[in-house]
């Protein structure tokens, strides 16, 4: 088995008396897609925030390829190859689709401090951004403002931004939430492509069971901020404890 790329060790965050994530220890390996499930308020998004740096842990550590990143800012973590798409659409609204993606490409290329030549002269950046537009089928919308896109296309742009960062760790927070049926397959296909790359680690928060079944190599279950179950999909989904706390009844499985 390959060694883990991302490890959380006893990861904990407290908000006053409330423990939102409690001693979660988990290792994620390249070439593996892990789906994180759990009822609302289970701490899934908080767990993501602790990994990508929007929140800092009260105790415990996050390591990426052996480097302790627990105290790093989000931008430094992005520099270490951790990429994140957000649950609520989180774009640069007044910029165009192309400009949005070019920003992510440029963050990765390290050209952000160049200040004497127009950005249009950096052909490489634009070409790469166009490549990701094509991959996400957003090319026809390249010159639209992000704010003017329909919700489904904004969700796709959210995913495109993550892809343009070319991280090692891809974190998707309900990527198909609120998407119409004709958009969702596009996004799932993209996640499939990323998953096919054996060097990439994918973490996915998802509620829709058909999506979970189609993509998951492994499922972990969070409940009240604690790691409740961890294993291959069939095992986890059939375990009684998971049925009890998360699904309530077995009907949710179908």
């Amino acid at each position: 088995m390959t060694s883990p790329s991302l490890v959380t060790q006893d990861l904990t965050i407290r908000f006053g008396g409330h423990v939102a994530v409690n001693q979660v220890s988990c290792a994620f390996r390249p070439g593996e897609l892990t789906v994180i499930v759990g009822p609302n308020g289970a701490g899934k998004t908080t767990y993501f925030n602790l990994i990508s740096g929007q929140l800092k842990a009260t105790s415990g550590t996050v390591t990426k390829d052996g480097t302790d990143i627990t105290q790093m800012s989000p931008s430094a973590r992005a520099g270490h190859g951790i990429g994140r798409a957000f649950q609520l659409t989180n774009l640069f609204p007044q910029l165009t689709v192309l400009e949005n993606i070019r920003l992510a490409v440029q963050a990765r290329s390290g050209d952000g401090w160049r200040m004497l030549r127009p950005v249009s002269r950096f052909r490489g950046l634009t070409e790469k951004a166009e490549h990701f537009l094509e991959a996400t089928r957003l090319t026809s919308l390249a010159h639209q403002k992000a704010a003017n896109l329909p919700h489904g296309d904004q969700r796709k742009l959210e995913v495109a931004l993550l892809m343009a960062m070319e991280p090692d760790i891809y974190m998707f927070d309900e990527p198909t939430a609120g998407m119409s049926l004709d958009h969702a397959p596009d996004v799932l296909e993209l996640i499939h492509q990323i998953k096919a790359d054996p060097t990439k680690t994918v973490l996915l928060v998802e509620h829709k069971m058909d999506v979970v079944r189609a993509l998951a190599d492994r499922i972990i279950v969070l409940h009240n901020g604690e790691l409740l179950a961890d294993g291959n999909p069939a095992e986890v989904m059939s375990s009684q404890i998971v049925r009890d706390v998360y699904l309530g009844t077995s009907e949710g499985m179908e």
């Binding site: 800012s73 931008s75 640069f92 963050a107 931004l161």
Partner: protein
């Protein structure tokens, strides 16, 4: 985004303004008009450098005149101490920039992490402290009276730039090519260079990062930009440009005092210009500065003339009396903000079909 016809119109207007300013000493042959033209040049750069902060990056600062003042006082103090010459100007420019950079870095690193409103408060406090210090340290700064000094010899009215066979100064289109013309072109060219430099900055990759920070700071951080570093940097860059243009203004005026370079009245003028012109466009700075400076100098005259022309009509002459110019400026400002919420340039650039 593709250019709109409105964008084209705005650019043409700006080009026309640049051309008029270029020929200002020949087009308007009186002292006051050239004074106005120089002030417009200075304020275009000052407002554009403020637009880097407020329009492009979304940083609200009230300390912009402080940096402008550092540059002006730098030149003034050295010119007073060392007498007229280019060395004191250069030393003043460098000194102003160094002090500005120290202050900007200190304010930036200490407080750019805090919320926007606290940052604005801290800049306001710093600017107030500097204003008080300048009026207290009268040994160095001349206090409320300011400092009067001589500009480099090249800019003396008696200087002859070109002489004919008889040793008399050459006239071009009826204008003597003397030191006053040289001084104006010193202002014009300095401002042009600084403005073009800023145009380059905002079109560069760095400019796109600034816009990203304005649009969504958290996401800019999440995709890998060190937001605090970028914000501190642009705050320093904007301060440097404000300081340099302060030096230029000090050389032009041959007088520096709190009212010409440091006062909050100037800060308010800058804010009005950037809002009237349109934030985050650079062109807006040009349009805003031209309109407000012209209004400040000529609205009074215009109203005086209108009031006299209407002297037979009841009420109107009273309303239009020259002394009420500020009242009318206020009304014009409210109407502009109401009808052009994104400023004149910002609103115009959205208008018209995409080409």
């Amino acid at each position: 985004m593709k250019q709109t016809t409105g964008t084209l119109v705005v650019k043409l207007v700006v080009l026309a303004i640049a051309a008029v300013l270029l020929f200002a000493p020949f087009l308007f042959q009186n002292v006051r008009s050239v004074e106005v033209a120089a002030r417009i040049c200075i304020f275009i750069v000052l407002v554009a450098s403020y637009d880097l902060l407020i329009g492009y990056t979304g940083i609200v600062s009230f300390a912009h005149t402080m940096f402008f003042g550092f540059g002006a006082y730098g030149a003034a103090i050295f010119l007073k101490d060392m007498g007229p010459g280019w060395w004191p100007v250069a030393l003043g420019a460098v000194g102003g920039v160094v002090v500005s950079l120290i202050m900007a870095t200190a304010i930036g690193l200490l407080s750019l992490r805090v919320k926007a409103i606290f940052f604005a408060m801290i800049t306001l406090a710093a600017a107030s402290v500097v204003l008080v210090l300048v009026s207290q340290l009268s040994q160095l700064t001349g206090g409320e009276d300011g400092i009067t000094y001589k500009a480099p010899d090249l800019f003396k009215p008696a200087t002859k730039l070109l002489v004919d066979g008889n040793g008399k100064v050459v006239k071009l289109f009826g204008v003597s090519l003397n030191g006053k013309v040289a001084a104006y072109y010193f202002v014009y060219l300095s401002c042009l260079v600084l403005f073009l430099l800023m145009l380059r900055f905002v079109r560069s990759p760095l400019g796109t990062v600034l816009e990203a920070i304005r649009e969504n700071e958290a996401r800019a951080e999440a995709i890998g930009y060190r937001v605090v570093a970028y914000r501190t940097f642009i705050f320093c860059l904007s301060a440097t440009i404000a300081s340099l243009v302060g030096t230029v203004y000090a050389v032009w005026l041959k007088y520096t005092g709190p009212d010409t370079s440091l006062s909050f009245d100037i800060m308010i003028d800058i804010l009005l210009m950037v809002v009237i012109g349109g934030m985050g466009t650079m062109w807006g700075a040009v349009i805003g500065a031209v309109l407000l400076v012209l209004a400040q100098y000529y609205l009074r005259d215009l109203m005086g003339a209108a009031s006299e022309a209407l002297s037979g009509v009841p009420v109107l002459p009273e309303l239009l009396a020259a002394d009420r110019w500020l009242f009318w400026l206020g009304i014009i400002f409210i109407l502009l903000v109401y009808f052009f919420p994104k400023g004149i340039a910002g609103t115009a650039m959205q208008a018209g079909a995409r080409r």
